[in-house]
């Protein structure tokens, strides 16, 4: 059995991104979508950290990962606030139903 290589991490990141994207596209629940977004962000984090370790690029990747985690926290807070607002005006968080912007 071989050692972990950069390829494993990239595949893991790709799988995570695909799962996140799939969640975002298919979910009709706004909170589900937010969760998908978290997955996508974390797949990016995996890529940052992996490339930082294997490409000998210093700590820049780790620092960016920290930034992304912080950003994700903020995004979750704002996103949840938006979902709450949507619920107050539509009494649902089904994104299929909240299509009034077009009119």
């Amino acid at each position: 059995m071989g050692t972990l290589s950069l390829g494993h991490f990239v595949v893991l990141g790709g799988i995570l991104f695909a799962l996140g994207l799939f969640t975002v596209i298919t979910r009709r629940n706004a909170i589900g979508i937010l969760m998908g977004v978290e997955l996508v962000l974390n797949s990016a984090n995996v890529n940052y950290v992996a490339f930082a370790r294997y490409a000998n690029a210093g700590y820049d990747g780790q620092v960016f990962a920290i930034f992304v985690i912080m950003l994700a926290a903020a995004e979750a807070a704002i996103g949840l606030a938006i979902v709450l607002g949507i619920y107050q005006s539509f009494e649902t968080i089904d994104v299929e139903a909240t299509d009034r912007l077009r009119q």
């Binding site: 994207l21 975002v24 596209i25 298919t26 979910r27 009709r28 979508i33 994104v95 299929e96 909240t98 299509d99 009034r100 912007l101 077009r102």
Partner: protein, 678 residues
């Protein structure tokens, strides 16, 4: 030629009177009463008369060849060779005329203050009367043909206004219109004559309308032709057409009898003494031209004699007191034209003067009768008035004797002179003249006997009302009667300080002796006896028929089946003929042109309107379908595209993300295939 500014005041004084009365007359009458109106009207004419007398005496003091007083007011028309000034000139001929116009006119003004006393529009009447005097004086004094024409038209207008003075009755205004329109026909001839005269004179290098220059240069027209006619003949014929209109000669005499619809002073002043003599005056004024056209003179003499005869026969059967006098005026004017036509200008003007006296007297007398009879004009309801109206009947009878040509009254001298000169020139016309003299005596005495003698046929109420007119009316009658008695002596050597004929000689000198005494005084005396016999016969016949009633009028009226009588009674049906030919003819033309207008002109207009409408309908369609269509098409396409594209914006976030994903995948695939290819 002597310059004399005061001459201009002669016509301008009555004009000032007319202006005062016309503009402020209503106020003046309300504030100061009718007396003030009468004072203004009579005063201006009396002043003009005084100036006329002064001018006459100044002329008398001058050398006969230089008897001309000229007042040049201001330049009027100066265009090319046409040089016309507003200038008034008094020469022996116009001096006689202004004395008649202002003298007799003044007496008639005075009479009218009594006659019109009960009329509310008193001031308007005198404004017109003064305006008429001004126009007549302009006609007489104007030193050029054009200024004469201004007066000529002015008197026509005043005549129209005064005939229809009592305008509340349609018949009066119709009579006024008839007078004016018939006069316009004549004026057309006058204008043509004036144009032709100036045009041909101008072509000969002497373009002028001033009388004394015309007299000086008229000989250049000798031998000049226009369309194969001698110009002098054409010009004088045209001018004579004007004279037939103004002076009521055949064929334009029909308006004068109708003009009697006006107040009687108007009939006396305008339609007997002055205005209607304008044609005679014009012919005498232009005698040098008429002398160059023997053909015209023959026409003038014939028309004059024919008019005298026709009008005298019509007068035989009239029953309206004023109509008899009207036809008598037409007949006497015929005499004057007969005189003009035979070259007896002085005799014609002399008859004009004497006629003005006795005809004004007769008209004013008839007015006095009408006044007493409370407006009645039918002689069949009068009779025996001599008892009630002593002054009126005396003056009327004397004036009748004068018009009948009884010596030594005025009519005798003038008529005798005309007849004698006619005998020398055209004996046939002399015979007509003598016949007319007999007829005149008959119808005038028929009138006298019917009105003043016999039994009174008026109804009792009118008879009770009968009274002599006030002295403002009788004094002019007496004065005019005196004129009718004495005016004849003007012909005698001591007349106007010089014999009348010599007095006029400077104006008509060169041609006066065309028919100079070819027969001796013995022949003249014989002719005098013949015409006196005719007149006496007429009077005797009238006496037997209407006074002693020993001869029934029906003896004559039923002769030859009554046709001659009915023709005379119906005035030869000339009015009906004119009505049929001219009035109906014109109306027919009107209707034809109206039809043409309605159907052809309007049709053309409507057609063009329809074409324009069709064009605009087409352009409207183009606008609607092509221009608007293009605009709508753009809008529709945009809207259509918008509706289609809008479906993409579903608002479904998932769908958006699908599209993003597919786009990115597509992009990556493209990149790969591009990278693989290179």
């Amino acid at each position: 030629m002597t310059s004399a500014g005061y001459v201009a005041a002669i016509p301008l004084l009555p004009l000032a009177g007319a202006a005062v009365l016309g503009l402020g007359g209503a106020t003046l009458q309300r504030r100061l009463g009718k007396r003030a109106i009468g004072a203004v009207a009579c005063g201006t004419v009396a002043l003009a008369f005084a100036l006329s007398v002064a001018a006459f005496f100044q002329l008398l003091g001058l050398d006969p060849e230089h008897r001309l007083l000229l007042a040049r007011l201001f330049p009027w028309i100066h265009v090319g060779t046409l040089q016309v000034d507003v200038a008034f000139g008094v020469d022996p001929l116009s001096a006689v005329m202004i004395l008649v116009v202002t003298g007799i006119g003044g007496l008639i003004h005075l009479y009218a203050t009594g006659y019109m006393h009960d009329d509310e529009a008193f001031w308007r009447f005198f404004a017109y009367l003064n305006l008429f005097t001004f126009a007549m004086l302009t006609l007489v004094l104007g030193d050029s043909l054009l200024l004469m024409f201004v007066g000529w038209e002015g008197v026509g207008f005043c005549s129209w206004a005064l005939i229809g003075f009592w305008h509340k009755e349609l018949a009066n205004t119709t009579a006024g219109n008839k007078a004016f329109i018939v006069n316009r026909v004549g004026d057309f001839g006058f204008v043509l004559g004036m144009f032709l005269l100036f045009w041909t004179m101008d072509a000969q290098g002497h373009g002028t309308l001033v009388f004394r220059e015309l007299a000086q240069h008229a000989h250049v027209l000798e031998g000049v032709g226009f369309w194969g006619w001698p110009v002098a003949t054409l010009v004088t014929l045209f001018l004579f057409v004007g004279a037939t209109g103004k002076s009521a000669q055949i064929p334009l005499y029909v308006w004068l009898p109708d003009a009697m619809a006006g107040p009687t002073p108007v009939s006396a002043l305008i339609h007997a003494a002055t205005m209607v003599t304008a044609g005679v005056y014009m012919v005498a004024r232009l005698n040098f031209l008429f002398a160059m056209a023997p053909a015209t003179l023959a026409v003038v003499a014939t028309i004059g004699a024919a008019t005298a005869l026709v009008a005298a026969t019509i007068a035989l059967a009239q029953n309206d007191i004023k109509r008899v006098l009207a036809y008598s005026t037409v007949s006497q004017l015929g005499y004057m034209f007969l005189a003009m036509g035979v070259g007896a200008y002085a005799a014609g003007i002399f008859h004009l003067v004497t006629h003005a006296f006795f005809k004004a007297c007769l008209f004013l007398g008839s007015g006095s009768v009408i006044h007493a009879m409370r407006g009645e004009q039918d002689m069949r309801r009068m009779g025996g008035l001599v008892k009630f109206l002593p002054a009126t009947s005396t003056t009327f009878i004397v004036a009748t004797l004068a018009i009948a040509g009884m010596p030594p009254l005025a009519g005798f001298f003038s008529k005798d002179e005309i007849l004698w000169q006619a005998f020398n020139a055209r004996p046939a016309l002399w015979a007509v003249g003598v016949t007319v003299a007999g007829l005149t005596a008959f119808y005038m005495f028929r009138q006298v006997f019917m009105v003043f003698f016999g039994t009174c046929r008026a109804d009792p109420e009118t008879r009770h009302h009968l009274h002599e007119s006030p002295s403002v009316m009788t004094i002019p009658l007496w004065l005019l009667m005196a004129g009718a008695v004495l005016a004849g002596f003007l012909w005698l050597p001591f007349g106007l300080f010089v014999p009348f004929e010599h007095w006029l000689a400077p104006v008509i000198e060169h041609h006066g002796e065309v028919h100079a005494a070819t027969s001796g005084r013995g022949v003249e005396a014989l002719l005098m006896l013949v015409s006196l016999g005719a007149a006496a016969g007429g009077i005797g016949l009238a006496y037997r028929m209407y006074a002693s009633e020993s001869l029934r009028p029906e003896t004559f009226s039923e002769a030859l089946g009554g046709l001659p009588y009915r023709a005379v009674l119906g005035k030869y049906w000339v009015d009906e003929l004119y009505d049929l030919v001219f009035v109906r003819g014109v109306l027919l033309c009107c209707r034809a042109t109206a039809w043409f207008d309605l159907h052809v002109i309007d049709g053309l207009v409507n057609l063009s309107a329809a074409i324009v409408r069709g064009c605009s309908w087409l352009s409207g369609l183009f606008d609607l379908w092509v221009v608007d269509g293009a605009v709508n098409l753009v809008a529709d396409v945009t809207q259509f595209a918008g509706r289609r594209v809008r479906n993409v914006q579903s608002g479904a976030i998932n769908a958006y993300l699908y599209v993003v994903l597919l786009g990115v995948l597509g992009g990556v695939l493209l990149y790969w295939s591009w990278a693989a290819a290179s």
